[in-house]
Amino acid sequence: DAGVTQSPTHLIKTRGQQVTLRCSPKSGHDTVSWYQQALGQGPQFIFQYYEEEERQRGNFPDRFSGHQFPNYSSELNVNALLLGDSALYLCASSPGTFVLTFGAGSRLTVL
């Protein structure tokens, strides 16, 4: 079982650019959530997708958007990057509710 896979693992962008991060959920999982983890902090909930719809959203601006595809994979898009967007972005999947399985993350550095 491949678990949750994310790509890319590391990337560097400059302020104002746009970025797309990708996530494939664990086999059998239909719900995908995205979290932002700043250095030295706990993860913060960005949003959650189920049946290709955004089901819940955290306290993040509209610059953060996402998508879920029919095969349950998901993308996170961030527009107009700010220095403060530098963080580890974690994708987590679940078979509905209960335990989240996290991917290894995509580390974004904004210069």
């Binding site: 993860p43 909930f45 989240l100």
Partner: protein, 111 residues
């Protein structure tokens, strides 16, 4: 907004000693999760606590939940160096896998 507070934030202990990490949260919930994160790695699920009085044990770690006190504890028995990591508690108050994480407890077990 739900607040999840962990203490201590940093813990340095000798091998063989016992210690407890505390997780307090501000809103009623009967779902509490503990995760471990090694440096540069993703989050690994340790325990899922789903009811008042729940106690789970795995090796040298034992977690408990008191929903009336809004408190969970992670007890470490006879610590070993391999337990060095950052430990996060997370609360799901709406039962939709929208997790609120604490800031984490960075544990360093010295040989």
């Amino acid at each position: 907004e739900l607040k999840v507070e962990q203490n201590p934030l940093f813990l340095s202990m000798q091998e063989g000693k016992n210690y407890t990490i505390y997780c307090n949260y501000s809103t009623t919930s009967d779902r509490l999760y503990w995760y471990r994160q090694d440096p540069g790695k993703s989050l690994e699920s340790l325990f899922v606590l789903l009811s008042n009085g729940a106690v789970k044990q795995e090796g040298r770690l034992m977690a408990s939940l008191d929903t009336k006190a809004r408190l969970s504890t992670l007890h470490i028995t006879a610590a070993v160096h391999d337990l060095s990591a950052t430990y996060f508690c997370a609360v799901d108050i709406y039962n939709f896998n929208k997790f609120y994480f604490g800031s984490g407890t960075k544990l360093n077990v010295k040989p």
